[in-house]
């Protein structure tokens, strides 16, 4: 059995510092295991958020050696253990304590997006007929586990702090899932352009890089939304047509 040192951020919004903890590591361990071990042995009150420990709930997001990661899916054998492993909370959200941040802003943003509104059912029993092909396109977006790592890494939020103007990659994916839902009848394009700030995204693809579900956020969600905004809001022909059709 060997040991490794973990440099963990301890503190709250007022004050804090990194603290080093050395603990034993064994084959197959992930970062969250090390954090739990430290919590049980040395720092009972260490604050960390987690649930499923299998990459399915998106609770244990943090920055490991500066990279936004799910701690439960980051194996220690992917990190250099001859130097301390740095673990710190996500930087885009206000700190609560230690590794836990206040992500409530995300929940507020979601409420502002128009909810799903299905077309009338196709069959008398209230069900619909949908092709598997159409289903698969939105299923990619619906894989999202809401870990908010894409929000964490997005420079519009992280560096420019435009939380009140831009909904961030997570909610662009959410909007894309609704817009491309085969049954949906709602129109969210004007909101995207005006209130949700889709234009702030300059497609640097940082969000795509960190997504633990491998959702092609930029290519499959954001760019198509940007195109729809352009088509609907700025295309002169469409604009004229709309004047006649209402």
């Amino acid at each position: 059995m060997s040991s490794a040192t973990f440099r963990i951020w301890r503190g709250n919004a007022e004050a804090g510092a990194f603290e080093d903890y050395t603990t034993e590591v064994s084959e197959g361990m992930v970062v969250l295991d090390a954090v739990h071990q430290i919590q049980a042995e040395k720092a009972n009150d260490l604050a960390v958020r987690w649930n499923c420990k299998a990459g399915k709930c998106g609770s244990c997001s943090a920055e490991v050696n500066g990279n936004p990661k799910l701690m439960c899916m980051t194996r220690l054998n992917t990190l250099p253990l001859d130097e301390p492993v740095t673990i710190e909370p996500m930087q885009t959200f206000p700190l609560i304590r230690d590794l836990v941040t206040d992500v409530s802003w995300n929940y507020e943003v979601k409420k502002r997006i128009k909810q799903f509104a299905p077309r009338k059912p196709d069959a008398p029993d209230g069900s619909w007929r949908v092709d598997q092909y159409d289903v698969e396109r939105v299923q990619e977006f619906r894989k999202c586990i809401e870990c908010f790592l894409c929000q964490d890494v997005c420079h519009v939020l992280r560096d420019h702090r435009l939380h009140d103007k831009f909904i961030g990659p997570r909610y662009l994916v959410y909007t894309a899932a609704l817009e491309m839902q085969p049954l949906d009848t709602e129109d969210r394009i004007a909101d995207l352009a005006n209130d949700h700030g889709v234009g702030y995204c300059n497609i640097t693809k940082c969000c795509t890089t960190v997504c633990p579900e491998d959702i092609a956020i930029t290519d499959n969600a954001i760019i198509p939304l940007k195109e729809r905004v352009v088509d609907q809001m700025y295309d002169p022909l469409t604009k004229m047509l709309r004047m006649f059709t209402g």
């Binding site: 197959g28 009150d45 987690w50 299998a54 069900s127 619906r142």
Partner: protein, 604 residues
């Protein structure tokens, strides 16, 4: 003291599938709803459900109907089920599934564009509506995204530690917020418990830290009866390696798609022991089993798709007899289907994406190339709060329960896929009836003595420092080790008794637990508070297990290997005795209605 206070018509505790569905229903009935959850919204254990949601839609095989689903559920539960719940569940699940679609869920489709259904253990026909192998995520997200527009007040990261009563009636709850550790008083005309399971009472479990039997213990302390607590489901296939992921679930969907179990000798050992009840519905050979998984209607299911209790025990047999895999499991092989399907590897990735991902990332194994190692993991508790079938009201007025924390639907063993449907069917019913009950009530008064007593008790761990105090984690670990070893998959009088003898000391140690730091997001403190619930439910499991002297469903006694016809008629009831002691007794089941008995006979 004054605490932050909230008042609702209906307070729902727990925000997994059942709690969300109950909240949505109560809210649509026009009452005010508060929803309290231990974690962030959308993170509850429902997200872990992989295989699907059982509903007799008949989209893939039109011979299916609620009657067949009912008979399957009763057979799976070894007839200890509350038959009325099994009836309602089978009848209402299709409506609940379609409703989920109308709220935005995106299920996989059949060629005709209907909701696709897959095979699962114990279900006669392909019955599980699903989304790849992440159906639970689809369900919780759909409910969450629908629920946030319903005017429900959500209290995230808030834990309830005591229910408050006015006379016989439950009128509220007392808890704390995780962020600051501040106490909160909730006044409510009706309370719905939807707090999930008790997996953390065992060492190897698929459950997260949250599942410490809170709802069970809250209800018990409030005077409600629990039922059938001996029935704990050990899912046959959890990961066994690496050690840190031991217990994480490997979906039954792997077997539904054609995955097979083999021992170290390469033998498909499941063919060796097929229970009498299932002989006529199980494949004779490997070929027939394969055809079944590929949708051949004339074929019967492979023995890997027998009920979970049976598969788990067969795995334990192989392990005990020395035919296990290198890391103490058996082999689950889906890669072999490449022999049968030209694009096998792609097919596996498409049908089981999160399993592919999970093994690749956590174990460094490519499941399209090599077998997985799997072994049983504590997954689900069939037992729980005793409820009235139609309304889901417990034996205490004003207190309702739905989902895993309620008892009845699953009897001695739950069929895979019947949990997600349970959450929706009975979440809806609990929400509806709690709202109706709340409307009939006049104001309730909160007793400040109860509040103060709960607050005092909760803060005690901070006052215990010094040599006598012990950290909360070691007590929890010791309890988990004990339950795993002595009240686990294979039980006996002597072993259970050993566990029961050890409870005194564990309670005593729990009473001495001390914590460091302050009340802000303090995991040690939370673990200390959860210990009380965990010990209570563990004791109920052990006491119920020693009373049932037979093997039935998930409860397997090596000193009583057979089913007993007398105990077939008995439920096990746990309640708080007059002197504060735990009382566990057996009570007769209600005789089944004739028409339902006929359905069971017709489907034998």
């Amino acid at each position: 003291m004054t605490y932050e206070s909230f008042e609702y018509d209906v307070l729902v505790i727990g925000a997994g599938g059942a709690g969300l569905r109950a909240s949505i229903e109560a809210s649509s009935a026009g009452v005010s709803v508060g929803l309290v959850c231990k974690s962030l919204l959308g993170k509850a254990h429902t997200v872990m459900a992989e295989g699907g949601m059982a509903a007799a839609l008949g989209n893939v095989d039109d011979r299916d109907s609620w009657k067949v689903h009912f008979a399957d559920t009763m057979r799976g539960g070894q007839y200890l089920n509350n038959w009325r719940m099994a009836e309602l569940h089978a009848q209402e699940a299709p409506t609940r599934a379609r409703e989920l679609e109308s709220w935005g869920a995106v299920f996989d489709r059949t060629k005709e564009g209907k909701i696709l259904q897959r095979n699962f253990g114990g279900h006669k026909y392909p019955r599980l509506a699903h989304v790849g192998d992440r159906t639970g995520l689809e369900m919780i997200r759909t409910l969450q995204d629908h629920g946030i527009h319903q005017g429900i007040d959500v209290h995230m990261e808030c834990t309830v530690i005591e229910l408050l009563k006015d006379g016989d009636r439950v009128v509220g709850a007392f808890g704390y917020d995780r962020e600051k550790g501040r106490f909160r008083v909730y006044t409510a005309r009706a309370v719905v418990l939807a707090s999930g399971g008790i997996g953390r009472a065992f060492k190897v479990t698929s459950n997260s830290w949250e599942y410490t039997g809170d709802g069970h213990a809250l209800a018990y302390r409030a005077g409600a009866e629990l039922m059938d607590m001996e029935f704990v489901q050990f899912h046959p296939t959890g990961m066994v390696w690496p050690p840190s992921v031991r217990g994480i679930l490997v979906t039954e969907g792997v077997r539904g798609e054609g995955g097979v179990l083999r021992n170290s000798e390469g033998k498909r050992f499941m063919f060796e022991d097929i229970p009498e009840l299932y002989k006529s519905s199980t494949a004779d050979d490997e070929e027939e089993g394969w055809k079944y998984t590929q949708g051949d209607k004339e074929s019967r299911r492979p023995p890997e798709l027998l009920t979970r209790d049976h598969v788990a025990r067969c795995i334990v047999r192989e392990l005990r007899e020395g035919r296990g895999s290198p890391h103490g499991g058996v082999f689950l092989d889906i890669a072999w289907i490449k022999e049968r399907l030209p694009n096998g590897a792609e097919h596996i990735k498409k049908k089981l994406p999160s399993m592919y991902h999970q093994f690749k990332q956590l174990a460094g194994i490519d499941i399209t190339q090599e077998p997985m190692e799997v072994g049983p993991t504590t997954h689900y508790v069939m037992g729980g709060i005793r409820v009235e079938a139609d309304s889901q009201m417990s034996t205490v007025p004003g207190l309702f329960a739905a989902g895993e924390c309620a008892a009845g639907l699953h009897g001695a063993n739950r069929l895979g896929g019947n949990s997600l449907s349970d959450l929706l069917v009975f979440g809806q019913r609990a929400g509806q009836h709690a709202a109706a009950y709340a409307k009939e009530q006049t104001g309730a008064s909160i007793n400040s003595d109860q509040v103060e007593a709960a607050a005092r008790l909760a803060l005690e761990p901070f006052e215990r420092e010094g040599s006598d105090a012990e950290g909360p984690y070691q007590v929890q670990f010791d309890l988990q080790d004990m339950m795993q070893a002595q009240v686990g998959i294979v039980r006996s009088q002597a072993e259970i008794q050993k566990a029961l003898d050890a409870f005194g000391q564990l309670y005593e140690r729990a009473g001495r637990v001390g914590v460091q730091g302050n009340r802000e997001y303090n995991a040690g403190w939370h673990t200390a508070l959860d210990l009380r619930n965990l010990l209570m439910v563990a004791e109920a499991v052990a006491k119920s297990a020693i009373l049932r002297k037979e093997s039935r469903g998930a409860h397997f006694r090596e000193d009583f290997l057979e089913k007993d016809s007398e105990q077939a008629k008995l439920n096990t009831v746990t309640r708080l005795g007059a002197g504060g002691e735990m009382e566990v007794v057996q009570e007769p089941l209600a005789p089944i209605r004739d028409d339902l008995a006929q359905i069971i006979d017709d489907n034998k």
